[in-house]
Amino acid sequence: MKTSFGTAALVGLALSSAMAFYAVSLHVAAERSSIDKVRAQIVADTHDIRMLQAELRTRARLPELQRWNEQVLALSPPKPGQFLGSPLVLANYARPAAEAPGVRFVATPALPAAKRAVQQVAYLETPTGAVPAPGVEAAAAPVPVRRAPPQVHAPTATPSIALDATLGGAIDAAAAQERGDVKVALR
């Protein structure tokens, strides 16, 4: 009886082990199958993306865009005068006309040419004391204007564009301090 039980136990153990291993195998196969499905989906999606890209390119082909331009948009190449020589010129375009009496742009041109990828431009209060029109004042009022710290040395390599060298350096430091929360920064 004991022997038979032991044998049956062995058989059961063997069968259960085999079943367990087979279950693992099935699980692996199921996972592999799902991965294959994902791969197939990737292939199908990639194919669809290529088709869509080609369709977009075909619909937005350059001869077609030119035809639209000739018939509707009438855009023309820029004239030499429309090219700006420096970011400072661009910034001057953005100057609000109404604020002109009290605010002007200055730049920090002291950086060497190779390092002028970032050039700071900032609004600064000028000492003219001119009073803008009421409507303009209301628009300009929320913009806080800080004065530059007094002990800042001006850059000596190149004078400021709009102001003398001493004041230019002070403004440069003020602009650096205010950058990010107050004024205009060109990058």
Partner: protein, 576 residues
């Protein structure tokens, strides 16, 4: 004793019986264990067998997955322009074929069903194919996968589906002569498709796209401006090239009329003919640039105020070399005068001084005596005098661009060498990575190149090429108007009008060639169809469009210094 004997035997029997029972029990156990063992083995074998069956029948996925991923690799490599704009792509398509002799279904019904899927075919056409006496017929080529699936679902066993590539050129005829096209079997038949056929279709390399040197925006601008001029001046054709002078990259190359590579079979031979690489033309006065550069390099021109006799036509043999009507100098002229007035007589004297041997050697070095460089196989053979007949007359006429016929792309590579500092590099249709340009060979010195830049700029500011003066772009160039040969005779009123230019001349970056084939003058041009009137304006408009795209900023405050040369011009040049 008798009774005792059995009694005596009993224990003996009892002793024997347990022994036999034990043996039987042991035997039974052994059999039982054997049976269990066999069952276990059988079970194990069964499990293995089932697993094998499972793997073989139900789980043949790894191979399928690999195949599916292989489908991500196109059957033919994509082609992009230098900015990764798609120029040619391949998609999966199917060829639908039928074996009419093995048709199972009823042909009429099948033709109706197929016609509903293949909408470009009529039931009658399909019925004719289904009942064709041949063994194999194509019902349709390049059918989309969705259509192929619907046809497969019809269940007709005699209909087979074969995977084949569908090549698409999204920009239609843009850059058609560069791209070329493939045949219905997917093999390159023209252009880059033909030249790089092995690279594009090889299993090992087709996964990576090919990047052309072409900038599709510049290509569009070139084709557009050429087409506008061709239409305006009723020319039979046009060609143009934009080339990077430092790398030899062909940024744009156009030949008009063009064709749609998606349906190349529907175009005519003239449309497929590439005038920029296959057509050879006498390019006229554009060669004067080369003659002067050669003379400078050979040390024959010591200074710009050196004078040549342009007082009267040259009579040599049965030929007379004279200046064009209205351009006669009738004096000893300085080099700048000869150049900006495009004097044939003065240039002929320079060429004669240079001599045939040196002229031929320079032209050979500049690639004019060989088919044009570049990957394209559609390359015309240049026409020039044979070496044993390259005498003084030939030297003189070649000096001002007659008696030698080359392609516009030849001229572009030569002009690039003239303005880039003197280094000739072969043209290439493929994108060159920064710093990877071929070394090239030096033909002219930097000094010669600098002098030629000033002369070319002067032609545009004060000479025959003033209509090419794109504002702010410092264009320099040379006009070239040559009478066209028709039937072996020069036609006086049929021209090939070419303008060869470079910009910006203070630091040249690009060469531009614009050619009109047989243009007609208009009232606006005073009836003239010369290059200065019909081709130079193309360069003006083109450079204005492509300059910003190519990173050349117009600048009215910057220019090459030509003041010294302007002082050598005795009188204002006549207008061409």
């Amino acid at each position: 004793m008798t009774s005792a004997a059995p009694t005596a035997l009993l224990p003996r029997r009892a002793a024997v019986t347990p022994l036999a029972g034990q043996r039987q029990a042991a035997l039974a156990r052994a059999r039982q264990r054997l049976m269990i063992g066999m069952l276990l083995f059988g079970g194990a074998i069964g499990v293995i067998g089932l697993r094998l069956l499972d793997l073989a029948v139900l789980h043949d996925r790894p191979a399928a997955a690999a195949e599916a991923f292989a489908a991500l690799t196109p059957l033919r490599a994509d082609i992009y322009d230098r900015n990764r704009v798609e120029l040619a792509r391949t998609f999966d398509a199917y060829a639908i074929a039928v074996a009419p002799k093995h048709l199972v279904g009823e042909p009429h019904a099948l033709a109706q069903a197929l016609s509903a899927i293949l909408t470009d075919k009529t039931p009658a056409q399909l019925y004719a194919e289904l009942t064709h006496p041949g063994a194999f017929r194509y019902l349709a080529r390049r059918v989309l996968p969705e259509q192929a699936k619907r046809i497969n679902d019809l269940g007709e066993p005699s209909i087979t589906l074969e995977r084949e590539p569908e090549r698409l050129y999204p920009n239609l005829d843009l850059g058609a002569h560069v791209l070329g096209y493939t045949d219905i079997d997917g093999h390159g038949k023209y252009g880059i498709e033909r030249a790089l056929d092995a690279r594009l279709s090889d299993k090992a390399t087709r996964g990576k796209p090919v990047f052309l040197a072409m900038d599709s925006r510049v290509q569009q601008a070139l084709e557009s401006e050429l087409f506008a001029a061709m239409t305006k001046f009723s020319a039979i054709g046009a060609a143009g090239v934009v080339m990077d002078v430092d790398t030899g990259e062909v940024i744009a190359l156009a030949s008009l009329p063009s064709f749609n590579p998606n349906a190349a079979g529907h175009s005519d031979d003239d449309s497929r003919f590439d005038r920029a690489t296959l057509g050879v033309y006498e390019l006229g006065s554009t060669f004067k640039t080369l003659t002067i550069a050669m003379s400078l390099e050979a040390g024959l021109i010591h200074s710009m105020d050196q004078k040549y006799d342009a007082t009267q036509p040259i009579h040599i043999g049965r030929f007379t070399i004279h200046d064009d009507h209205g351009h006669e100098l009738r004096k000893w002229a300085t080099v700048p005068e000869i150049f900006i007035h495009s004097s044939n007589i003065g240039t002929a004297h320079m060429a004669a001084e240079l001599g045939a041997t040196r002229q031929r050697a320079y032209l050979d070095q500049l690639g004019f005596l060989s088919p044009v460089s570049g990957e394209l196989l559609e390359r015309g053979h240049t026409l020039y005098p044979p070496a044993n007949n390259w005498g003084e007359i030939a030297t003189m006429t070649v000096g001002f661009g007659h008696g030698i016929a080359v392609t516009p792309l030849h001229l572009a590579t030569a002009y690039a060498a003239v303005v880039n500092g003197g280094v000739w590099r072969p043209a290439t249709m493929l994108r060159v990575e920064p710093g990877q340009a071929v070394a090239g060979k030096r033909i002219f010195s930097q000094k010669t190149s600098d002098t030629m830049r000033a002369l070319l700029r002067m032609v545009v500011t004060a000479g025959t090429g003033r209509k090419a003066n794109a504002e702010g772009y410092r264009v320099g160039g040379k006009t070239g108007t040559a009478e066209k040969q028709l039937g072996g005779r020069y036609e006086k009123h049929v021209n090939v009008s070419t303008f060869a230019a470079a910009f910006p001349m203070d630091a040249p970056r690009y060469v531009v060639i614009a050619l009109l084939d047989a243009p007609h003058g208009t009232a606006e041009t005073g009836g003239f169809s010369t290059a200065g009137q019909v081709s130079a304006p193309i360069v003006d408009k083109l450079v204005t469009r492509i300059g910003p795209m190519l990173g050349v900023q117009p600048d009215m405050t910057k220019d090459i210094d030509i003041s010294g040369m302007l002082g050598l011009i005795a009188e204002p040049p006549v207008k061409e």
